[in-house]
Amino acid sequence: MSKNGVNVGQVADFPVGKCRLVKVGDVEIGIVRLANGEVHAIRNRCPHKGAPVCKGIVGGTWPPSQVGSLDFVRDGEVLICPWHGYEYDIKTGVELYQDSPTRLRKYQTTIESGSVFVTI
């Protein structure tokens, strides 16, 4: 434990595009490194029905579009719950494209000397 939180591993331990689970105390947390280098920490519990959300797909999604056409956006920045498919913006933790979105519990991360620290 440093002033920056708990050291959960080297940056290189967290491959881009994967959500790797770590434990901080009793709390299970998914660590995701994005292509732009940001590292995000997300509690492994979907606010919808308690699923282990961090075991879901990390990918992109198809935003609202015209009838019959598909766009694809946010590649690598969306976490999709493995149970009921709720889609979350990894950067903000907010459920995508909903008027009353649910929100993931996120924790602050810092990178120091090549290590990832999580503050809970």
Partner: protein, 372 residues
Amino acid sequence: MDTQAELTEKRPAKAALRIIDCDVHPTVRGGVASIYPYMPEAWSRRFARKNTTMASIALTTKYQHPNGSAIREDTRNAQGEVGGSDPHQIIAEHIGPNNIEAVLLNCLQSGAFCSALATVDESIVLASSFNDYFLNEWLSIDRRFRYAMAVPSLDPAAAADEIRRVGRHPQIAAISVAPINVLMGNRYWWPIYAAAQEHDLPIVVHPTGTDSIYQGTPMSAGGIPDSYIERYVTLCQGAESNVNSLVISGTFEKFPKLKVLFAEFGFTWMLPLVWRMDRTWRQLRHETPWVKRSPVDYVHDHIRFTTQPLDEPHDPEDLDRLIQLMGTDHLCFSTDYPHWDNDMPDLSLRTLSPADRKKVFFENALQTLRLN
């Protein structure tokens, strides 16, 4: 517990209710020959040679009404003609006594031809002929007659042509699209929706009598019903599929002014359906990303249901509880006159508040139909 009739006596209406009846069924008196003057001679000769009739809608024995006819015997006029065939009788017996300001005439004979009984070409000619018959022989009699024009469901391009031919008539208030086994969200229907939107006319869908009998009509889910009762009870299944299809296919994104009125499918099934649609959309939204809002919102903004046939829970207040859950925005009163299962205004929905009755019996229809 009180029946609706007992409730009516206990709770007399405090103020006159303004009423629009969104489902009344006219019958062409004299059979198909009556519409011969409204079609080219080559076609009338063809129908005459074939002995085309429309005395019945060709119901199979197992789906014939157990009491002989779905049309009330007591609606015959003084000459003994079948109920719904005499416009003056409808005025004298139904519109006048019930103080109805407008009735939507929806002819099921043309619906049956357009869904299944005729060839595609025949149905195009018949739809036009039925329309001209009603425009000429009924609508001029009384402004309270409003008409759901027929279109050939089997040829949407021809249907759109027909809408553009007569759709501006001031007493045409809707387009009656006979259901077939193509769900309503399918782009097959787009020409009709485009023309409907152009003319500010809602689509009305209603069972035609051919349902679950002929290939090409909407079939009951799970198997073939074995009796009139079984078929009757399952007719709403097609409406459920169509509400779902319209919303999830993005129809209302493509046609943002389109309105659809589901007539005679009831409505008590609507709430669990939209709950299921909403839940599943939220979870798998990206499969159909053109559905940009909750399905609940699309249904609220674009789809209406006529009230008849009202379900009758043992405690009538239960129906009120359900309506409070779903809200009264979706409902448009209808009688289904002159059919056996009609709901008359005085004896319908007496548990609703006066403000809700006003919406259901009048205001919602005013906002749904094109009533010039």
